[in-house]
Amino acid sequence: METKLTARDLSSDQEVKWCPGCGDYSILKQMQSVVPELGIAREDIVFISGIGCSSRFPYYMNTYGMHSIHGRAPAVATGLKIANPDLSIWVITGDGDGLSIGGNHLIHLLRRNVDLNVLLFNNQIYGLTKGQYSPTSEMGKKTKSSPLGSVDHPFNPLALALGADATFVARSIDRDPKHMREILTASNKHKGTSFIEVYQNCNVFNDGTFLNFSDKKLKDAFVLMLEEGQPLIFDQGKKGIRLNGLKPEIVNLEEGASANDLWIHDSKDPTKAYILSRFFDENFPRAFGIIYQEDRNTYEDVLMDQLDQAKGAMGEGDLDDLIRGKRSWTVE
């Protein structure tokens, strides 16, 4: 009785309680519409979150889920995947949860390459605690806890993920549903830890922080959509990016620059991925899409191989042999 799921099947009976207008609604909606397309049984899907606005997400998905404690979702998910490698696991976290209190777990998850998906909702603010600066807030940001401006240099989440040797690194945004569905689908396909930074607007405490990338009038100039094997072109085809050695340069295609000289996106190239992750300079557009991906053995596959090999070499362990140990003696 294989019946295809619909987005409605993925919606739990709990009332969604994010602020009206929050970017989280869009991400939830895209997730609920993508999951039925993945061909995974609902019972095999698990959402694991930490603490924060985004971390309420599992309550709204009609799958298995756990709303764990602050920052620890990557560790919970790792244990779950090791216990049952057949599950499709999605970690939902935010910039505070994933990069501040849980930063340690995130980088270790990425280096281990456990096969699961991480969605980091980045709104560059602490929302649930009502508006303090976060580890991705820009320097100088004035908030309740930084009345004279934040003195913290922010994290660049994609550069951090690349630095931790993540095998799938991507960026998307709440206001581009189609793109988000594509990235979610690609992330599910990737074997290993997929890290997706999602720009998400907090309309209460940090409204408009990503306006450059969502506003119809502005985004052409600021958004660079990456497509595998295609040249880096933005601003309605007017501008392109080429590499001068390792130095990216913006060229104007309407003023004689040739499209043939442009940087061709190759998501397997770690050096280029790093350069793309550093596009924060105002002159450069922000890159969206799959910045980097590679095939590498997953943690759980290597572990299971070790278990199989041990059983092969030593035989399936017998409990009495184990308890007896190597040297026992009998008292008559």
Partner: protein, 613 residues
Amino acid sequence: MKETKTLSKVTIHFAGDSGDGIQLAGAQFASTTALAGNDLSTFPDFPAEIRAPIGTTAGVSGFQINFGSEEIHTPGGRPDVLVAMNAAAYKKNFANLKPAGVVIVDPAGFDKKNLRLAGYDDEENPLLNKPSDYQFYEIEVTRLNRDAMKDVDIAPRDRDRSRNMFVLGFIYFLYNRNLEVTLHFLEEKFKHKPAVLEANSKALKAGYNYGDTIEAITRYRIEKAKLPPGEYRNVTGNQALALGLIAAAKKSGLELFYGSYPITPASDILHELAARKNYGVKTFQAEDEIAAITAAIGASFGGALGVTGTSGPGMALKTEALGLAMMLELPLVVINVQRGGPSTGLPTKTEQSDLMQAVYGRNGETPIPVIAASSPSDCFRAAYEATRIALEHMTPVILLSDGYIANSSEPWLFPKAASLAEIKPPIRTKSGDFLPYERDAKEVREWALPGTPGLEHRLGGLEKEDKTGNVSYDPENHELMVKIRARKVALVAKDYPKTELLQGVEGAKLLILGWGNTKGAIQVAVSQALAQGLSVAQLHLHHLNPLPEDLGSLLESFERVLIPELNNGQLVRIIRDKYLVKADVLDKIKGQPFLAEEILDRIKKLLKDGDGN
């Protein structure tokens, strides 16, 4: 012919620099002695530094073993024999030796440099001024061992490294022991290093033969102990814990997941389990203590037996996650191999100072069952029991061991796998009509595993609505849930066997109430007190939370209660609080286990003078 004396019990203290291989020699003597049929108890005691300053008293590593043809409950008080590899080892331990005891020393360890490092004054050398009523064996271990190394292909700097085996060989001769166990051990250990194997085997035999050669030496015979019949092995606490976890996982039909971050003195549990992959054991060396417990929670959510192990400082870090596990009502075993605290404290020394932390140390109303192990072999039972409670009651359980139990060893009349009680986790397989927080008569909810169709549900640390498990801020519901969770843990006590005195009778003037590693010392003290006609009894607790339901009425029958604890008074507060009985503490906070005589002294003071202080 050499003279042979028969003894019923001997305590030997091996001491040397922490690089001298004292722990290895001691552990080998214990294995050989166990196999020879003696009862025994050991106490390894070493510095926290991997390599403390050579030759100083701070760097002295010790290993004490008490063995005999009678039942042995402690590693012994003052040793009969002191083996001191250098002046520092001698200086640190001589005063503790029994009057007229035996001292075995290597004069090379008492040269000018060693004497100075040990803190002796100029020109002072204890070997030149030996107390005449002690029996000294001055054996030129270093020189004799170098002779034995003559034809062995090892670097000159390594030739002294087998001195521990030379001394061990000599002690084997002295106590009529067989070399076979240690020779076999060396063959295994140095399989791939033939020269090192040869060096150590030769040293061992040379030490034994040296004993055979010298004149005027008394050998000792210790007959086999009259232990209950059955099959035995020697086991340390950490080994027994690992075995207990694997056994419990097998008997419950689950995979064992052990998440841990290396920490003294718990790391050996991780090592033991990591080597058991053919038993399907999955070990996860986490990035930190919090990841270790939360990964174990994730594994439990997924249907494995999630276990994490640590010591006090790690336990502090796991506190928030313990609260989560309690809210999720998932099975989880959390092992705390206690060490001296607070903070980093005394990593290699033993203490029982995390009891309050285990019973109370969390935010909110967070009741969690607490189990304690009382000896190395008892760690198996404790691990099995902790797992049973975790699985059958769907709750995190804290298991308290400690550094003393963890590293000590004793003979163990081990059980057959078939005799172990089945463990039945309440795994839900039937789909439909599933409410995650619906409970049975014991307030236990069902365990629905991801991957099971029709049982999809969400768990979390926010307060749950009764039965549905949905998030709820309703005040009535919160109070109800707090009470339900308290009752659920209280009901764990319904499973306990009847609480029985180990020695003495109800109504005695004084009850010695113990928990954890104090059992052996209390046993010896109480039996001596009873032999002296004192009105005393012994009771030992294995379940610290909830306490046994019949404990209160039992306690009331005694005039007073004395609780020996390696802390500043923790169980005593819990007992006074719960039962309002007159209970006193005998505390000891020195990083060392109790000596039986310390407890006996207090018993006598209390009963003869009526004054415990």
